[in-house]
């Protein structure tokens, strides 16, 4: 394996095929991946406890050193729905009045925290692909007074949002699950204002990518 093996070649081929090394992920493969993501996150929407290798819920927020002053403001029922693998705010807080997009917001815990930091002069949008997760986020939002926070059902690969509309894009544990990462990153770039920040917490692969498409699809997210 050489340096370039995965790096330069994770690229788009035809309209929706994506290359991983020499393996081609087709639209059909993407469908299989989407089905497994849906199946998993439908369960996570109920309660993420025990479904991840890292701590989730309040334990996760504490372990990742989220601002305790803000975490204290979250009812237990909201905190327990957190399943991010990192703390995107540890790379820089959100300033009052800023606009924030949370890609793959899940149950919306980071979305809510960003809303608290931005205050009502700012606005925050949580975007999520699995309807059950989005419903959980909706329920979570209802428990708080956060009218400047909204939710959107969409894929990271195609953001139904105008160009240059956010000061900050955050994402926590999502890009590892996105098939066409280049497309999704281009979308982040497009919706950010000039000078805008992208703060991502995620899991990256340190071992080799499987060579066969079928193994890649089967092990997606693992």
């Amino acid at each position: 394996m050489t340096k370039g093996d995965h790096i330069g070649r994770v690229a788009q081929t035809r309209a929706s095929n994506v290359l991983y090394g020499s393996a081609v992920i087709t639209t059909k493969d993407k469908g299989k991946i989407a089905t497994s993501i849906n199946g998993k996150y439908r369960k996570v929407a109920q309660n993420p406890e025990g479904l991840f290798k890292y701590p989730t819920g309040k334990a996760g927020l504490d372990a990742l050193q989220y601002d305790p002053e803000l975490v204290r403001l979250l009812p237990d029922s909201i905190a327990e729905s957190y399943c991010g693998p990192g703390n995107p705010f540890s790379m820089g807080a959100i300033n009052k009045g800023e606009s924030v997009l949370d890609i793959g917001c899940g149950a919306g815990v980071d979305t809510i925290l960003a809303g608290m930091m931005a205050g009502t002069d700012g606005y925050v949008t949580g975007l999520e692909i699995v309807p059950e997760m989005l419903q959980r986020a909706q329920n979570n939002l209802r428990e708080l007074d956060v009218s400047h926070v909204s939710l959107l059902e969409a894929s990271a690969e195609q953001l139904p949002l105008p160009d240059k509309s956010f000061d900050v894009v955050i994402s926590n544990g999502v890009f590892n699950l996105v098939v066409d990462k280049v497309k999704a990153l281009k979308e982040v770039f497009r919706v950010l204002k000039p000078g805008g920040r992208f703060q991502i917490a995620d899991q990256i692969r340190t071992g080799e990518m499987p060579k066969e498409t079928s193994s890649i699809v089967k092990s997606w997210g693992r």
Binding site: D5, K181, K186, F189
Partner: protein
């Protein structure tokens, strides 16, 4: 990959310490969209990005905790294909 789409100041800030599988690592990554985008749009400098990550991991793993080969594989492009499952 981030640089490829036009981002600047791409930085692997640190590891989170939580890895969701033996072949993945939790990381924090930050990037900035340049204030003026014309000069960066369409830039394809994958080597530059890899070097940044390489430097980060060389610094972080001087004791050889990761093999050189593993280090080379660590980049947004090589990775982010794995992650959040138990």
């Amino acid at each position: 990959m981030l640089h490829e789409v036009g981002f600047d100041h791409t930085q692997m800030v640190r590891e989170t310490g939580f890895n969701s599988s033996p072949v993945t690592r939790g990381v924090l990554i930050r990037a900035v969209k340049p204030a003026t985008t014309a000069s960066n749009e369409g830039d394809n400098d994958m080597g530059g990005l890899l070097n940044k990550y390489q430097e980060f991991f060389d610094g972080a793993y001087k004791d050889g905790a990761l093999s050189a080969r593993t280090k080379i594989l660590i980049s947004l492009g090589a990775s982010l294909g794995a992650g959040c499952e138990p």
